[in-house]
Amino acid sequence: MAKKEAKAAVERFEYGEKQELLRQSAKKFLAEHFSTEKVRKLLEEEKAHSESTWRQMADLGWHGILIPEDFGGAELSIFELGVLLEEMGWNVATGPYLHAQLAVLVLLEAANTKQKKSLFPSIAEGKIIPTLALWEKDQGWDATAGGVKAKKAGKKGFVLSGTKLFVGDAQNADLLVVTASTPKGPSLFLVDARAKGVKITPDKLVDETRRSARVDLKNVAVSADALLGAEGKAAGILAKVYPRIWSAISAEMVGAARRVFRVSVDYAKVREQFGRPIGAFQGVKHRLVDRMVELENARSLVYGALWAQDHEPARAERVARMAKAYLSDVGPRVGDTAVRTHGGIGFTWECDVHLFWKRLRWGQSQYGDAAYHRAFIGDELAAG
């Protein structure tokens, strides 16, 4: 993201008081608003979204965490967003926060001043919830290869038609950031979620704490101002933003994984079989240690990736891919270990473990899994 002054390249991340204060305040707030009891209530609701919590997050400055001060934001960096997301993962927080922030990352990269002026203050206040509408049927994680078309409608704007799938929190969103193809190629458009011709049909997710939907666009008319970035340049814009997105999702995953790991270790200390705690058995103990080692690696990698986004431009993509690849393997594996360590109870609805298991699987499915990213890293290693 654009910074007021260029920072000197620093390879080693610096985590200090500013970040820790943010974490402690987030911990307090999230423990109150997203205790597992509350998460369980919220996930039964249609939108899994508490508007009063959302408003309080605005007061804390969270919605505008990345938004420049000139537009009413806190102008912190993705490193701090990562701290916040790690805590949200720890709490399996529900609601559209992550999806809104991913959209903000795209807006920061591509929006012109006029668009920033009109959108950022309302986003920072929590009054506009944006989300990315990228995926389509049978296109994998390629947001620019699909069939949604934007036709020029004279000088006034475009008309969008087609279907977007897996749109995160579309049912909670006010603003959709859509990839659609014009004759010049894949482009990004801002689409009002309530515009005429937009039909939002909720999905049913494995991770019930999250929401997503199918978005049908039928001759949706948008003005020329709705074009985000230059026409035909969506691929380049997204390529710049993706590493930040991978880092952000990885941060949320590492939070969820650390929490469910801790719960598993605690359980292995108190659950007794054959007259002793199950953690005494090496089959259980060694598996937990394997996960601990992976989590230690994962957490270092995530902070390295978040840091690289603003401080190591030459390595930003590579480290972010590494983080998303590693977390996509390790996150679900920690969830798996959690279920197995808990045994029968871990397989039940009443035990909280499944909330994390599902969240980690969800993270794995977003923006490229381990094999997907390793293929890119491998190509890089094979080049030259």
């Binding site: 240690v289 994962a298 957490r299 270092s300 990698l301 590579r318 390793r374």
Partner: protein, 408 residues
């Protein structure tokens, strides 16, 4: 291609100058490649030629001020700064300088003597350890005391103005060249298992100490069995007090696990990133008809995973400094031996496997790739995995001390 940032890019002017001087020194002083196989780790030192070569190299480095940087001057060190040691590690790794072979001495004996020794002991031993003049071996394991180290049976008793030792030690790396041995032995047969142990600095060049080579699966004879029969130990070669042996041995093992895992990770990532680069190069050179090993998507995927884990080593080194980001204060340190020995082994497996039909060629075969050094390194990968407590023992220790799980 996004390249790893070079460490010098974050140097202060003072550090940059130190690095430049060191680089020049290395250029001038790096010894030429010997005609014999140069050991890649202290676990591979087998012949007198190898020892002489490495001993001369260590002495040269010591005299130039690049060994024992952080050790106090009065004990023979250079009284320098941690950043200097870090830069030296980085540049030695980068220039692929010969190893500093006296690892048991520097990473195990020395920190233990510095922690538990008397002023006289520190002055007598530390300088000659750093210069490489005195070679040290470890005398902990016995045929019936491997992972269960507390059950050692070697017995030492006081006889007037000296001690007499009897017993049998095993897996004694560089024992054939040893001047001293850090010896864990029983001094009290009545006391409880761990309380009856003491820690000695045993002079090895004496009639009562017989060192017999033990041949590894690689056919190298780099470690030994040591038969100790009525060997004499001067009274001032007891470290700490009688009965403190177990506690003192834990100091040694903590340093060993740090040492064989590369310590705090500072500069260690350079070694792993270097390994990834070398395996990548190998995978490009190995042909499979019209394609190369690296064109195999499975090879590529595995290599990418290695690169990711090497990056973890780098980032762990950074996070180590940030207390607020630790779920377990000692976690990163205690896991390093386990993690890094296992990662290196997986890298070695890949390096051999990707060679296809040549993978079966042994060290010294005229048809082997790179003289079969990959195959040799692969087998030697078991050294760090088993030595200093097997990975399974490490997992018990981590599970119990870090995670707080019940003992089995």
């Amino acid at each position: 291609m996004a390249v790893a940032r070079r460490p010098e890019e974050e140097d202060t002017p003072e550090q940059a100058e130190y690095r430049a001087t060191l680089k020049k020194w290395l250029e001038k002083n790096l010894p030429s490649k010997p005609s014999f196989h140069l050991p890649l780790s202290f676990l591979e030192v087998e012949t007198k030629d190898q020892l002489d070569y490495l001993q001369a190299w260590q002495k040269k480095c010591y005299e130039a001020g690049y060994v024992g940087i952080e050790v106090a001057k009065q004990y023979g060190g250079h009284g320098g700064q941690p950043w200097q040691a870090k830069i030296v590690n980085q540049e030695f790794a980068r220039s692929r300088a010969p190893i500093l072979f006296n690892v048991v001495a520097m990473r195990m004996a020395m920190p233990t003597i510095l922690t538990h020794g008397t002023e006289e002991q520190k002055k007598k031993y530390v300088g000659r350890i750093l210069s490489g003049d005195d070679v040290w071996a470890q005398g902990f394991s016995e045929p019936n005391a491997g992972s269960d180290l507390g059950s050692v049976q070697t017995f030492v008793e006081k006889r007037g103005d000296h001690y007499i030792a009897n017993g049998h030690k095993i897996w004694t790396t560089v024992g054939q060249f040893g001047d001293y041995m850090i010896l864990l032995a029983r001094t009290n047969k009545e006391a409880k298992k761990h309380e009856g142990l003491s820690y000695f600095l045993l002079p090895m060049k004496q009639p009562g100490v017989e060192v017999k080579p033990l041949v590894k699966m690689t056919r190298e004879a780099t470690f030994n069995q040591v038969h100790i029969e009525n060997a004499k130990i001067p009274l001032d070669c007891l470290l700490g007090r009688e009965g403190q042996g177990w506690t003192i041995a834990m100091t040694t093992l903590l340093h060993e696990r740090g040492a064989s895992g590369g310590g705090d990770g500072q500069g260690l990532h350079v070694a792993f990133e270097g390994a990834v680069a070398r395996i990548g190069k190998l995978a490009k050179e190995v042909k499979r008809g019209k394609s190369r090993a690296i064109d195999d998507p499975v090879v590529r995927d595995r290599l990418a995973q290695m690169a990711i884990e090497a990056e973890c080593v780098r980032q762990n080194g950074t996070r180590l400094r940030v207390q607020a980001l630790h779920d377990w204060p000692m976690g990163l340190l205690l896991m390093s031996k386990l993690t890094y020995s296992e990662l290196m082994m997986r890298m070695q497996e890949l390096s051999v496997e990707l060679q296809g039909p040549a993978a079966g060629q042994g060290h010294g075969s005229p048809n082997a790739i790179d003289g079969g050094s990959w195959q040799l390194a692969h087998m030697n990968g078991y050294g760090p995995i088993i030595g200093g407590g097997t990975s399974e023992i490490q997992k018990n220790i981590i599970g119990e001390r870090i995670l707080g799980l019940a003992k089995g």
